[in-house]
């Protein structure tokens, strides 16, 4: 079993989650007030859903090729696949949170306004707890999708063991080298992880609206 690939995939998924979730919450909250440009912004953010991964990977390869960040090359490196992962996961991170914010009854926000809360307090005490379900869904989807991402990662990162060779790429390599049992074990791990993630998304967090009971007290 390729432990390095599993650990790398987990590391990539966690970093993606940590970086994309605050950004997703911010964008999803701001997008409501985008006015006429809202449709364009939504379309741009949804593009990774419909764009072939190889196309996205190609543009990232061309765009990031030869460039460095703090001395670290942005292609064929962990930083490179992290950037690719962040871009690919934008729709998975933003859309559920955006839907959750949009589902909040505007009168509740108005009630918070006339209760004397500032915009930041309304966001922190009212909107964020009410959108928690959407944020959880976004987190689970992003995590699971990052674990399974293949095309873009391969294009931008190649298959450098311990650096860019994630579980999906390891499965591909094992199939290429006719190691079907190894590929089967890794596939089973991904299948189980995805199943658990989706179950969490639909089950534990999905049923009850989240609430921060400390919020208003």
């Amino acid at each position: 079993m390729d432990i390095d690939a599993i650990l790398l995939s987990l590391k990539l998924a966690l970093w993606t989650l940590v970086l994309i979730l605050p950004f997703g919450v911010w964008v999803a909250h701001r997008i409501r007030a985008a006015g006429k440009s809202k449709s364009w912004i939504e379309a741009a953010l949804a593009l990774p859903l419909v764009l072939p991964p190889t196309v996205l990977g190609y543009y990232l390869l061309v765009g990031l090729g030869g460039k460095t960040f703090l001395g670290i090359p942005l292609v064929f490196s962990f930083t490179g696949i992290l950037i690719a992962s962040l871009i690919v996961n934008l729709p998975f991170a933003i859309q559920p949170i955006q839907r959750a914010f949009e589902a909040i009854n505007p009168e509740i926000i108005e009630a918070a306004q006339v209760s004397g809360l500032s915009n930041w307090q309304i966001f922190r005490l009212i909107e964020l707890p009410l959108a928690w379900r959407g944020i959880t869904s976004a987190a689970v989807l992003t995590f699971a999708h990052t674990l399974g991402e293949f095309g873009v990662i391969l294009m931008v990162g190649g298959a450098i063991p311990g650096e860019t060779k994630t579980v999906s790429i390891a499965i591909y390599d094992k199939v290429q080298s006719l190691d079907t049992s190894g590929a089967g074990v890794l596939s089973l791990i991904l299948l189980g992880t995805s199943l658990i993630a989706i179950t969490i998304s639909y089950g534990v967090f999905g049923r009850q609206p989240s609430c921060s009971k400390e919020g208003g007290s």
Partner: protein
């Protein structure tokens, strides 16, 4: 003291001026879509008018004119309004107690003290034992009491109530009327109540402003409004059934419903031989089994019993007009009224109120 003058053309027309003194309960009454809620939301800062001013206890909350545009517009948070929403708008993720804690968030930093004060408000509303319930575990009436406690917790300078009784059943409504009446005495702040229920406004309000298509048509105490509506549109909106047209000349009203000429109060404002609208309140009518020199013969067309009250439709003998008369069941029995029976109606001329006769399509014409 709350003083407002609001004017806007879009999105919803609004042309309204009113004053509400501390301790006064002022009702805004009008049909659906008449601009009542828009007015209330504008006072709270949730909408802005194009021009006008909102001044509360000398503090300018909003000021705008055509020349300079908006010069002052405090945010809803800065206005210190208690706002009770029609559907309560409780925060669904917070318990009843936590809902009431929210308006205290900036004024009391210590959570324990905040909870104690919120708890006191819930006790005052008679729902102290429900403090830990979530909104979806409360009945409509209980939710409304939580919403009222939340609206008052901030010690607002104005209390704004947007159709607060429309979503609760009759017994709950009665309880809430009582609570509101008690609160009024203690709070001593202006209270604006939006309602489309005239009986409710009559029961609760010190003064009523009738609004139609965004225009304030008349402000008056309920009794005055029902007896002396400013014009025929107001009469129509306050549900005065006995509204007719006649010709007025120097204190005399001629009506083709009968041969009698009524002596009515002449304020000297109406020129001779002017067609007018006139109304007669229920207590200006009386029924008799025997005719008199000034009575009008009529047939009982319909009797609708509503509990202890009966509404009787009387078809005058010229068959052109119908009068509506409300009486107690005992009075109906005493007169032995039944459908088809011939009776005699006496109209008390001193109770007749005459008004300018204008079309009802443009309420702005009534504002002059």
């Amino acid at each position: 003291m709350l003083k407002i003058t609001l004017s806007q053309a879009t999105p919803n027309p609004l042309q309204l001026s009113l004053e509400c003194t501390p301790g006064e309960l002022h009702a805004l009454v009008g049909p659906s879509g008449s601009g009542k809620t828009t007015a209330l939301r504008t006072i709270a800062g949730l909408n802005n008018a194009e021009t006008g001013s909102i001044v509360c206890n000398g503090e300018v909350w909003f000021e705008a004119n055509e020349m300079k545009g908006v010069t002052t517009s405090l945010s809803p948070a800065e206005r210190s309004c208690g706002f009770l929403f029609q559907q309560y708008a409780l925060f669904p993720h917070l318990s009843a107690l936590e809902n009431v804690c929210v308006p205290l968030y900036n004024s009391i930093s210590e959570p324990t003290k905040r909870k104690a004060q919120a708890g006191q408000w819930l006790h005052r509303m008679g729902i102290g034992e429900l403090a830990n319930r979530m909104p979806n575990q409360l009945s409509g009436g209980q939710q409304q009491r939580v919403a009222l406690a939340r609206a008052l917790a901030r010690s607002p300078k104005v209390l704004l109530l947007d159709e607060p009784f429309s979503a609760v059943d009759a017994p709950t409504r009665q309880g809430l009327y009582k609570t509101l009446a008690e609160l009024r005495k203690d709070l001593n702040i202006p209270i604006l109540l939006v309602t489309h229920d005239l009986r409710e406004a009559d029961l609760l309000a010190d003064r009523i402003t009738v609004i139609d298509q965004g225009v304030g048509l008349q402000t008056a105490p309920p009794q005055v409004l029902f007896e002396r509506p400013r014009n025929s549109r107001v009469a129509e909106l306050v549900g005065i059934n006995n509204k007719f047209e006649g010709v007025f000349t120097a204190g005399k009203l001629t009506w083709d419903g009968c041969n009698h000429v009524f002596d009515v109060l002449d304020k000297g404002k109406i020129p001779p031989n002017t067609p007018v609208a006139w109304v007669i309140p229920a207590d200006g009518l009386s029924l008799h089994n025997k005719p008199s020199s000034s009575s009008i013969e009529a047939d009982v067309e319909q009797i609708s019993a509503l509990g202890q009250i009966a509404v009787i439709q009387l078809l005058l003998n010229n068959k052109a007009y119908t009068l509506t008369w409300e009486a107690s069941a005992a009075e109906v029995n005493r007169l032995e009224l039944e459908v088809g029976k011939n009776t005699h109606v006496q109209i008390d001329g001193s109770k007749i109120h005459i008004m300018p006769l204008r079309t009802i399509n443009d309420p702005r014409r009534f504002t002059s």
